[in-house]
Amino acid sequence: MEKRKYQSIVKKYTPKENRLYNGLVAFVVGGLMGVLGEVLMELYSYFLNIPTKEASVFMIVTLIFFGCLFTCLGFFDRVVHFAKCGLIVPITGFAHAMQSAALEFRKEGMIMGLGANMFKLSGSVIVFGVVSAYVFGLIRLLLMGA
């Protein structure tokens, strides 16, 4: 049998993901995360009496902390599995990816295990985050001035 013909048989029997449902779940959960972030930011700003810009850093650190904590407690993978990009795209997804890799390789030592493998999933995010920040920063500088 030709490879192409076989691949069409495979396609026929392989179920498709329900993209609309997945998208809807991610949209709602992601939106709720946004609301949570905003509430946290306002609370920090109000109770600590600090400007919104500083409060946003407090908010991000809080979300990272709970993303890591829930990953360690062992139930966050099931929540992320359900919410998909609703929790993967916000900072919680980044924390979850790093923390799960760190947990996995902790037994192989601090340097060769944890240190070397912690960025296994999230390393690309950092690399291409820095690259795109540089590119868009340059564009902004050229178009809008310093």
Binding site: M1, T14, T71, H96, A101, E104
Partner: protein
């Protein structure tokens, strides 16, 4: 390549499983099941090694022999450099052959063992395989605690260790013949669709076995493929019909049987080297001993996947080996 055997018998078998198999349909037929993934060990890799250790211990107890009375130990698993098998073998101290054909290792081991026993190279041998869900996830996919979504047609690696004892003594299940498969690559690159990767190899081996032995598909009371999953099973049925004009009868797939696919979070079923033997050594052998099945063809299928090669955009080759078993 098909070989017939006059005097090879699987005298006894043993199975040790993890928690998901314990909650599956054949839970009462396993020799031992653990409720967690560590079994008192510190890492997933050593835990998998313990599965082989324990399955051999239980097997030796059942046959009433010590490890010094065993001539040969053949073992395979999924881990890099076969660590689970190697570390178990280092504790057992039986002359050892390590084998790798991914999830087809179980039948590969039985074929090597059967040939050696038949031709009196050894008097007896133990064939073991193991797989561990978390160890396999760590090596081939993402960290265990990472919850990134997977497509619904992927399979869930079984956690289990299985051992079989082969001799020329007429007891247990007879090994009638075997077919060594060839590696087939149909250009599938999706690492989550292992069923589709392995179907062509499985079909090829079943076809060659039936052709070499001049048998009809209805000769067997059960043809059991390794780990195609619920969708791979449908692909195989279609593929056999269009490619070889064979209507599969009495056919089932171990991956679809080992778990309760509708109620357990296992996607399209089980996979891994221990998937087929866990079903075969528990449910199938039980049915054979009760006389409900007389002739069974086990077709272990293996996706010869390597993450580096997949990242290089190469397709995944696959292999399948078949072994024909009969009630004495």
């Amino acid at each position: 390549m098909t070989n017939k055997y006059d005097n090879v018998y699987i005298n006894e078998v043993s199975t040790v499983t993890g928690p998901y198999e314990m909650n599956g349909p054949f839970s009462k037929l396993y020799d031992k099941s653990y409720n967690d993934f560590y079994f008192g060990e510190k890492s997933f890799e050593t835990a998998e090694s313990k599965l082989i250790d324990e399955s051999v211990d239980i097997l030796l107890n059942k046959i009433g022999k010590t490890r010094f009375q065993i001539d040969l130990h053949i073992s395979g698993d999924l881990m890099n450099q076969l660590v689970s098998s190697n570390y178990a073998a280092s504790r057992l101290g039986i002359p050892f052959l390590g084998i790798y054909n991914a999830c087809a290792s179980s039948v590969e081991g039985l074929i090597i063992g059967a040939n050696m026993v038949e031709h009196r190279v050894v008097n007896n041998c133990i064939c073991t395989v193991s797989s561990h869900n978390n160890a396999a996830e760590k090596q081939f996919r993402y960290p265990v605690e990472y919850g990134g979504p997977k497509p619904c047609y992927t399979t869930f690696t079984t956690t289990g260790g299985c051992a079989a004892y082969l001799t020329r003594e007429k007891k247990g299940i007879r090994v009638e013949s075997s077919t060594i498969g060839t590696v087939v690559d149909m250009g599938i690159k999706d690492v989550y669709n292992m069923g589709a990767v392995m179907v062509p190899a499985c079909g090829d081996t079943i076809y060659k076995h039936l052709k070499d032995t001049k048998r009809e598909v209805g000769y067997y009371d059960l043809i059991l493929s390794g780990d195609l999953g619920i969708y791979g099973k449908k692909i195989l049925t279609h593929y056999m019909k269009t490619e070889y004009n064979i209507d599969l009868k009495n056919y089932d797939d171990a991956a679809s049987m080992i778990f309760d696919v509708d109620n357990q979070p296992v996607y399209a079923g089980g996979s891994g080297p221990s998937c087929l033997p866990l079903v075969a050594y528990s449910y199938v052998f039980d049915m054979m001993k009760k006389g409900k099945l007389n002739r069974v063809l086990l077709v272990a299928t293996g996706a010869l996947m390597n993450p580096s090669m997949v990242n290089q955009k190469l397709s995944i080759p696959s292999i399948a080996h078949a072994i024909s078993l009969e009630v004495i």
